[in-house]
């Protein structure tokens, strides 16, 4: 890995961690920018996919970990599909989010993080993503409880809001997976 040659500095450390997490060979990138040309969230993002790759290569950790991009990326897979070198930018973005959370810095898009956390908290408890529970948690975290009131009412009238969550037996297994209790079962 090209960037790992500078392993003594922060650039190498961040790049190696990210490279390992994302299982993608960032050195293959030759900055053709096809990723950014097709990026779904290009208009909303502060930096573009090719810049994320470059910043990681150069060890600009604050630039990527503090970016809006890592929280706006929707995982649409357009960049990865079109990359001539199979640089897995969506997987890289997953790894960068993990690093950003581990760094303890506030995310540039707190609502996106609140959404993911609300979703996973409900799945951990109920085994499935009960929509109403998820939205309640999300609204509690972000405020604006009545923002989507009209939409909620319209969906309610059409029978698309289920009040009670289904309770699969497997929810206990799901919780154990979240809590890593299954970890010792296999070598």
């Amino acid at each position: 890995m090209a960037v790992a040659r500078h392993s003594a500095d922060a650039a190498g450390i961040l790049a190696r961690r990210v490279d390992g997490l994302a299982e993608t060979a960032l050195r293959e990138c030759f900055q053709c920018r096809k990723c950014s040309a097709g990026c779904t969230v290009a208009a909303a993002a502060d930096i573009l996919p090719h810049e994320v790759v470059q910043a990681v290569q150069m060890g600009q950790s604050e630039r990527v970990l503090g970016s809006h991009f890592i929280w706006l990326c929707v995982g649409c897979q357009t960049c990865f599909s079109r990359c001539p070198n199979q640089v897995d930018i969506p997987a890289l973005t997953d790894a960068l989010r993990a690093l950003a959370l581990a760094s303890g810095a506030a995310p540039a898009e707190p609502a996106a993080l609140a959404f993911h956390r609300s979703f996973l908290a409900v799945v951990r408890r109920k085994g499935r993503a009960h929509e109403l529970s998820m939205i309640r948690r999300y609204k509690q975290a972000t405020g604006g409880l009545l923002d989507d009131f009209r939409l909620g009412l319209a969906l309610w009238r059409r029978g698309k809001i289920r009040l009670r969550a289904s309770k699969p037996r497997g929810r206990k297994e799901v919780r154990a997976l979240f809590d890593r209790k299954g970890k010792s079962e296999r070598p």
Binding site: L21, T40, V41, A43, A44, L72, V74, G75, C76, Q77, T78, F80, S81, D94, R97, A98, L101, E109, A111, A112, A114, F115, H116, R117, F119, L120, V123, G127, R128, A129, H130, E131, L132, I135, Y138, T142, L151, A154, L155, R158, G159, K160, I161, R162, S166, P168, R169, G170, R171, E173, V174, L177, F178, R180, G182, K183, S184, E185, R186, P187
Partner: protein
Amino acid sequence: MSAAPFFAGAMGSSSTTTSTYAVSYYPGCSADGTGVEYDLSARAVCEALGIELRELHDWTCCGASSAHALDEFVGLALPARNLSLAESAGLDLVVPCAACFNRLRWAAHTMAGDGGAIPAGVPPFAGRVAVHHLLEFMAAGAPLEALRSAAKRGLGGLPVVPYYGCLTVRPAEVTGAPDAEDPTGLDRILGALGADVRRWPYKTRCCGAALTLPRPDVVADLCGEILSMARRAGAEAIVVACPLCFMNLDRQPRAAGEAPAPVFYFTELAGLAMDLPAARKWLRKHLVDPRPVLAARGIE
């Protein structure tokens, strides 16, 4: 019955009372909520065609777009649990939701390709059953021919655009899509049902996916462009194969003065073309009432 069970005979069984073509079915978490009409129409169409969808017993969430975003282990373990159940059931797994399909298929791909690197505690999966998106499952071979012959009423040449979105097709290494930039399965299905399938450049554009809640402005921009392009392509409706695409598009963030473009699940149009009586109930669940464009083509 408007459609004879196709597979009862086609699969060489002498019995005509039970279907002989069975698959496991993973409804996904939106199936009893915002995506309820997708689930209902998928089940009704398959039943009428003689395809038995056996709901995967005790299925749980696949993790969707959130698990892998925050937690690598859970991102793999959640879909793996369902793959493990499907393997025990012994039948190929058919999935209507694009996101569920992609996560399940990604997990199967990951576990098949690199068994040594799978973390301890991930439920086992040896790859003995395959994962299919419902769209891909219906778009070729016997199911497509069954649809064609069952679509007696047709769609009266309703002009539509096929919208595949992202995760039914991308990335091709995971989905197995033969052409991820220009997929054709939904085109074939809609043609077989009697629609006028319009060509357009936004087949695989992204709707904004799970930014619905955190960044509705981004989703509105993306869906506004998609709706506008559908109109310019001469379509009166957009056809989808994903509950999240449906949700985002059905909210219709249109430019001022643009007419609404109703959204259909492809299974709903199949049910309408087959004249299934339950179809009316599905359509009442849409935010944008699709009945006027249907009535204009003589479909009620």
